[in-house]
């Protein structure tokens, strides 16, 4: 394997990791603070991609589309919270799962009705569509770097928000003892809505960022949500730090496994056998890792200290 391919695959892995973090952070935020299991989180990711696709054609620019789509996704998140999540907060996790499963069916079918069964490709502006030489002779697509940069800034912004602002303080307080927070006069309902909308924005952003590469399509949310589950299980449910490290780890392992596992296998088995077994194993790699990590640390790698 040559260096260029390795660097490119590393970047791809990093990009997948960042996107996974954006999705998983919303999940873990909502679970950690609201104690709510949101299966429909992937549907919001998909919704972000579709809204962004439509707005790209309306505004003529992908960047403006993202800018306008984010508040729309926040509204979608708010509606989801208001009408489905909020009445279920006091209920069992089983009810959360079933209620949001229903929500997925509704959102998916609505997206099918509005945008049709085929995927929508999103054209990139010229300045994002090129290639860039990062090291001598190693050329990578500019847009991949843009995704990584945008994702990292979103992660940094989230870190700042949770750790250094009053809202973040309330969020952390709500996570450790929500009754006490509301007893101190904080409007916990609004806080919860905000957290939910924030999670939706993060997932929506991830969907928007990936859409120019993969196009906005109907099944995309359901594919990423389970990987995001793997991320938060490995990282420890409710832990932001865990979600971040686990997302990068899973993203890299998955991408590198798919890219290089057959080469590695060829070192010690016939190339025909390697070509047969490598795709099968690499598609299961992250789940096997999850199983291994869980059997050693059932609480995940970085379980939250609180509660």
């Amino acid at each position: 394997m040559d260096t260029t391919l390795l660097v490119i695959q590393l970047l791809n892995g990093l990009q997948l990791g960042i996107l996974l973090f954006l999705v998983a952070s919303g999940l873990t935020l909502v679970f950690g603070i609201l104690d709510f299991v949101n299966l429909a989180h992937g549907a919001v990711y998909m919704l972000g991609a579709f809204i962004c696709a439509s707005l790209t054609f309306v505004t003529g620019s992908f960047v403006w589309a993202v800018f306008f789509a984010l508040p729309l996704v926040a509204i979608a998140g708010y509606l989801l919270e208001r009408f489905i999540a909020q009445p279920l907060y006091e209920r069992d996790h089983l009810d959360h799962v079933l209620g949001t499963f229903g929500a997925i069916l509704v959102i998916d079918t609505l997206a099918h009705l509005v945008w049709g069964p085929a995927g929508i490709a999103i054209p990139l502006p010229a300045y994002l569509d090129g290639q860039i030489e990062i090291l001598t002779e190693i050329v990578v697509p500019t847009y991949r770097l843009t995704i990584i940069a945008a994702g990292l800034s979103a992660a940094a912004g989230l870190y700042w928000l949770v750790n250094f602002t009053r809202l973040g303080m309330l969020i952390r307080a709500g996570a450790s003892n929500r009754t006490m927070v509301s007893a101190l006069g904080v409007d916990i309902k609004t806080l919860f809505s905000l957290v939910f909308a924030l999670g939706a924005v993060l997932a929506g952003l991830a969907g928007m960022l990936i859409a120019p590469i993969t196009e906005a399509s109907l099944g995309m949310g359901n594919n990423i949500i389970i990987t995001a589950f793997v991320v938060i299980i490995v990282g420890g449910i409710g832990s932001m730090k865990g979600a971040f490290y686990a997302a990068l780890f899973i993203g890299l392992i998955d991408t590198l496994g798919r890219a290089f596992l057959d080469d590695i296998f060829k070192l010690f088995m016939s190339s025909a056998a390697a070509e047969n077994s490598a795709p099968a194993l690499s598609s299961m790699l992250i789940y096997i890792l999850m199983a291994l990590i869980l059997s050693m640390r059932p609480q995940g790698l970085f379980p939250p200290k609180l509660r």
Partner: protein
């Protein structure tokens, strides 16, 4: 259980018998009048009901909410499809056969193995973790099947020859229906026996208060694992029937929406009851048939219905959990 009202109990008993007889007789009658479509529908219903009965063992009696039980349907179906494929096209001489006993044995063995291995991991955790991990393992299997191009990958595989048994031919829709519905009755009876045995009592005890059962000296992990494997095997068997019924296998059978539908059947029908999964499956099939005949976007009203049930059934669906236990005799 304490007998609350003898007459009410008799009525319930009669109602149950009526439902069971209806499931057997109505499709037969309709098919003699030429409505063979309903015979196929009833076959599918019976097969899904078997899977729901299997899921109910752990979800209802054991309180383990598995969101990945469609995986076993897939395993069972592939255990029919793969030997049939090799029988026709060569390769893998060990399993290449259309012998029904071999295929069903393979389905049971493979589901037991998958349940045992994944159970070792996911039964270590509870609640949301359990839901997510069962889902992840099913997804793992999904991607595995997608990646194996020999068995059609994403597109799936047509089963050219159904399982062959002495005296029975599954190619005949009537016999296929009878095999499915009788299997359903036997498995319902079997799971009922398990639930009423000491094993079942321990399982319900674990659902109620696992810490207490541990203090009482029960190895709760082992009980849960055994229940999990039995449940997987039942669903695997249902999968083998499903493969024979549809004569088509694809990774789509393992899609998490299928697992969600199974959960829906169990919970809607009433968890931890003998009749619940059957009632749930009947409801699901009827709703699906009616809605999908009206519109191809039938998931929209179905989803809304699901949300409505979760939101407005008093105390949530999990209250049916308690209610179901008290009234089931």
């Amino acid at each position: 259980m304490i007998v609350m009202n003898p007459t009410k109990n008799t009525t319930k008993r009669v109602a149950k018998v009526v439902i069971l007889v209806a499931v057997l007789i109505v499709p037969l009658m309709l098919s003699t009048f030429g409505f063979t479509f309903y015979l196929d529908l009833a076959t599918r219903l019976s097969i899904l009901a078997i899977a729901a009965v299997g899921l109910n063992l752990i979800l209802g009696y054991g309180g383990m909410v598995s969101f990945g039980h469609a995986a076993y349907l897939g395993i069972g179906a592939y255990a029919v499809g793969i030997p049939a494929h090799h029988w026709l096209y060569g390769g893998l001489n060990m399993v290449a056969s259309t012998n029904g006993f071999l295929q069903i044995g393979l389905a049971i063995l493979a589901s037991a193995l998958f349940a045992f291995l994944t159970g070792l991991v996911c039964l270590k955790v509870k609640g949301v973790y359990f839901i997510m991990i069962t889902m992840a393992f099913a997804q793992m299997l999904y991607y595995l099947l997608v990646s194996i191009s020999e068995y059609g990958g994403d597109d799936g595989l047509v089963i050219d020859t159904r399982s062959e048994f002495p005296l029975i031919s599954l190619d005949d829709p009537l016999q296929m229906f009878l095999v499915s519905v009788l299997s359903l009755f036997i498995i319902m009876w079997g799971v009922r026996r398990i639930a009423k045995s000491q094993f079942g009592m321990v399982l319900e005890g674990i659902k109620g208060n696992e810490a207490r059962m541990i203090s009482l000296g029960y190895n709760t992990f082992r009980y849960k694992l055994v229940a999990y494997v039995i449940s997987g095997v039942i669903c695997g068997f249902a999968g083998a029937l499903l493969g024979n019924f549809t004569t088509f296998i694809s990774p789509e059978m393992i899609d998490w929406a299928r697992s969600g539908e199974l959960m829906f059947m169990v919970i809607l029908g009433g968890v931890a009851t003998t009749m619940g999964p059957l009632l749930g499956a009947i409801t699901f099939i009827v709703v699906e048939e009616v809605l999908s005949s009206l519109t191809i976007y039938w998931h929209l009203p179905f989803g809304l219905m699901l949300i409505g049930i979760v939101l407005f059934v008093r105390g949530g669906l999990s209250s049916l959990l308690e209610r179901g236990q008290k009234t089931d005799d």
